[in-house]
Amino acid sequence: MRRADAALDFAANAALIGAAVLLVLRPRLVARAANSPLLPKARDLAVAGARALVPPAPPPLSWHVSTARQLSRLIASYSPTRIATARALTKRAGRRLNGSSALLAFSVLADSAVEHYRGSFANRAMYTPLVTSALTLGGSLFGMADARPKKHTVRDTIYAAAAATGFAGLCFHAYNVLKRPGGASWNNLFYAAPIGAPMALALAGLLGRGAERVRDVPPRQRPTILGMPAGRALAAVAAGGLFGTVGEAALLHFRGAFQNPAMVLPVTVPPVAAALLGAAALRPNRQTNRLARWWLRFTALLGLGGVGFHIFGVSRAMGGWRNWSQNVLNGPPLPAPPSFSGLALAGLAALSLIEDETDA
């Protein structure tokens, strides 16, 4: 594999030197070729080919690297394929994180709209998460389509606002629970403002910020967040988010007495995925990463399947869909499960960043 890698690099290097010679001798030709629409496609093909041929590299067996190898790595780091690969990777991770943030924002928008309507918007502040999550959703959709390797200031600001709103919401909800008779009692945890729900918005914001950091990286550098390699940092956030969401689902499914056996799925599957993600962040290896990847995919699917179960739950309440004006508000929350999918996607993005980080 390494030989094929080196051969491709040599070919790319040769092409680079050849292009440099051509530029000096025939500048106009080079200019026209650079503007040709075929060039991006060719580049993408080359990158795709390089990606397909280059599997995730195992971690280096020893920290001690010979000078020759260091030199060859230095040259290779200038390789356009390498550069293209890395940048495409971060761009794709970035767009994936935007996507994950979009899913979370959508879930929060729909859920908070229904639940705050149920709460009659008694406190004016209850409009805020609707506005913020709508902006986050819009910005994230834009981010998913945006292929530019740059962080976007407006998006970044929206994400910061989302994170702030989420944390503020947590405080509001905690106050709502504690001020009722009984304080932090089971009954209030079940029926007063859900403690964990604003965290979904906070996570949308944090992951979105991660998306922007990850795509805005100078060449030959790995993206970092707060000094940590981005993959690991985002894995921590995604894993933490998954555990938190599991807690929320566990609380509400406990309120529902786990009356349907499927209700144990969101409290058993995502924790395993989160644990594996955490393990991959701390000690990445091919085995762990593969397991983590599959469990995260399973969790993502579960998020969608959960919507189906909740639809069934609404339909079997008294009056079914005809009584939607009560059952959509009282029944199992339809937009809540996709937050698992959003976090799982973020976990998958973090995982590929981790793999890239260890592929040194």
Binding site: R118, S120, M318, G319, N323, S325
Partner: protein
């Protein structure tokens, strides 16, 4: 007295998920009761009964569909549908009412020289208060204690008839029939969009607009 729930009508919800088939059938029958029809009370007793109901549960004169209270009590007596218990001091349902109506008219005649339904609201209230306090002694009562009759029969039958009617539900802002749709918001000062909106002083229009949307 201004309307506390202006424009609120439980019947607006008749085709909503708040009503089911059985409820519609039952309430339709109640709304179709002819207020002037009497199968149990005689023609002589009927005006007395109407007058009593008007004093016990007075309704606004401009009400579009007033509750036919006297006719509903008449139906109960015609069907002889009891409540499942009778105070030992009272005769059975039908006899208690017949005797009481005769006695009430006798009281009015002996005090004011006219029938109960002719003596005007103020004097009617006075007489009813006297009966409630047991301060009547006409021999027409026989061994039936007037005070007990008033409390356990008259008030019970007349008041329960009135508050079984949608007109009364509208007046008190009751949610009305509720099946399959029940209620979502149960906390203080919260109403579901299909419940009555209370008119705060100076905000009657707002409540009226909300009640127009009830359904």
């Amino acid at each position: 007295m201004p309307d506390r729930y202006p424009g609120y009508d439980v019947l607006q919800k008749r085709h909503s998920p708040s009503w089911n088939d059985q409820t519609r059938a039952v309430i339709d029958r109640r709304m179709a009761i002819d207020p002037d029809h009497h199968a149990f009370f005689s023609d002589a007793e009927w005006p007395t009964m109407r007058a009593i109901c008007d004093r016990i549960v007075p309704q606004p004169p401009n009400r579009l569909h007033p509750a036919p209270v006297a006719a509903m009590v008449d139906q109960k007596l015609h069907d002889n549908s009891g409540d499942g218990y009778r105070d030992a001091r009272l005769p059975p349902l039908r006899e208690a009412w017949r005797r009481a109506l005769a006695a009430i008219d006798a009281e009015a005649t002996s005090r004011y020289g006219r029938h109960f339904h002719e003596i005007g609201a103020l004097l009617q209230d006075d007489l009813l208060k006297a009966i409630q306090n047991g301060e009547v002694d006409d021999k027409a009562w026989g061994d039936m204690p007037a005070k007990i009759f008033f409390q356990k029969r008259l008030l019970h039958d007349v008041v329960s008839a009135y508050y079984a009617h949608p007109a009364a539900w509208n007046e008190i802002g009751f949610g009305g029939p509720a099946s399959p749709r029940g209620y979502v918001r149960m906390n203080f000062d919260r109403r579901d969009p299909w419940e009555a909106a209370e008119a705060r002083p100076g905000r009657e229009d707002k409540a009226r607009a909300e009640n127009a949307r009830v359904g």
